[in-house]
Subunit: 322 residues, 2 copies
Amino acid sequence: MRALRVGDGATSLVDIARPEPRGEAIVRVTLSGICNTDLEIAKGYAGFRGTIGHEFVGIVEDPGGGAIAPGTRVVGEINAGCGACARCTAGDPRHCAARTVLGIVGRDGAHADLVRLPAGNLVRVPDAVPDRAAVFVEPLAAACGVLERAPLAGDAAAQVAVVGDGKLGLLCAMVLAAQGARPVLVGKHAAKLARAARRGIAAETVAQATRRGRAFDVVVEASGAASGFSLALDLLRPQGTLVLKSTFHGDAPIDAARVVVEEITVVGSRCERFAPALDLLARGAVDVADLISEIASLDHAEAALRRAAEPGVLKVLLATAP
Amino acid sequence: MRALRVGDGATSLVDIARPEPRGEAIVRVTLSGICNTDLEIAKGYAGFRGTIGHEFVGIVEDPGGGAIAPGTRVVGEINAGCGACARCTAGDPRHCAARTVLGIVGRDGAHADLVRLPAGNLVRVPDAVPDRAAVFVEPLAAACGVLERAPLAGDAAAQVAVVGDGKLGLLCAMVLAAQGARPVLVGKHAAKLARAARRGIAAETVAQATRRGRAFDVVVEASGAASGFSLALDLLRPQGTLVLKSTFHGDAPIDAARVVVEEITVVGSRCERFAPALDLLARGAVDVADLISEIASLDHAEAALRRAAEPGVLKVLLATAP
């Protein structure tokens, strides 16, 4: 089968043997999404070797002992715990110290014809959600994570900014708006900000947002750049909450004295469960159609990866069908 | 009167006019304490010009319209708000955007014979607390702030580490222990760690603490160095809380991806009200006697400032009496 693999400093589409089930499920991938994390991994981040890709939708081929029937359309949660430690037995394999992560840590990913995952990681996709939307469930679940970590839920009066007008920022802003908050998306690119405005989400340039003074109770950093961190602090009021979503590689400089003196709370937020994200898609509360820049054949995965790294490009999808 | 003043890149003891009350109280300083923040300000941090010093105990000379009688022994909270903004009218001048801060922002400090503060900032010192203990109330109130920001209170089972075996770290560990927690003080210096052990507080070297793995639910960063930040993250379990107390100048590098993936919470914590700290001193719950390295005459303030910057030196106090 085809697989987009990282190793020895290069990323190549290669032909490899299909995965053995080894007690897990096998899913035939329909669409997979290229994430900024894929680009980081392709640069050597975290020393991963193997097939990359962790955003996908596909059809169950072998349920691997799970309850989901062959032929079911599914997405897959990306963390697979050891199953034995205190974290796993408490039902939270996301923080298992020995976990593997699809296409990121110790487990082949989804930019391939077939992908293997524990049966318990698979989640059926509602019929109302087309493949081109379902493939966004992982980044959308990451956006849903903001609400788990910030004191926001249902508080329409809270002043919330999302820094970053890329895919993640827009998804975060959409999820917040769907939950009754009134986020302001802050970015540098008029075309990207216009995507927010078309959805009724307030959008401001960095200069406009900065001119408000330190007006925001909560700022979500979703820019994917170290500079977004200090901008986020500049927008935040004393005793406010900064939600970190970006997982860029390397250290970000933080003005620790400001965090102390202004009693800022910084919370890291990662991916939540998929079910709430699928529900948002099924209800039509979040529209991801115009976040797709391109759908390429898996045959052209190497070029698609380069394209995804170009400025201004949003989501690039890989399709296994010709 | 004598005053230790910063300006034009130099810090000098000079003779200046006594302060006009201007509606505020005048206190004759008995003892003042040299803080690491003083050393940072003397290097030019924050562009402050004027008399430095924000830790003091003294005798009220002019109550400035307040209810505290002349002759009363007092300490003074260091933030003075504008009195008119939403923060001030809500009773929290500490975050007033227009506030002055004793010896730090726009207000002459306490390394002098006399100091001026709003009457409302003064707090009477209980008779049971000698001057040499009362002068520690400001850093002790900073240590008390940890409990306001970390989910710890009364949880003896929580694994808590304090990074930094200097004055602030030891004060934080003592306050935590006085409140029923069982902190582990982590540092580099055997002599300083022994001070913790003498108080019944567990003390470990960096190597010992690191060998535990990521075992701590809460880590308090009180080392005053950027390196303490990454050590603190190395000690913290996933979904743990990092309490920042250090206010060193400049940016600390933060591994933002780790904060996100492990869903760490970072909280900045500054100085709390003085009354609980005075109460700890009055009850004898915290012993600060062996934190004093030296008591110098204010006449020798310049040399004392240099001495306070030497490695291994803890608190240097300045006495106005001969």
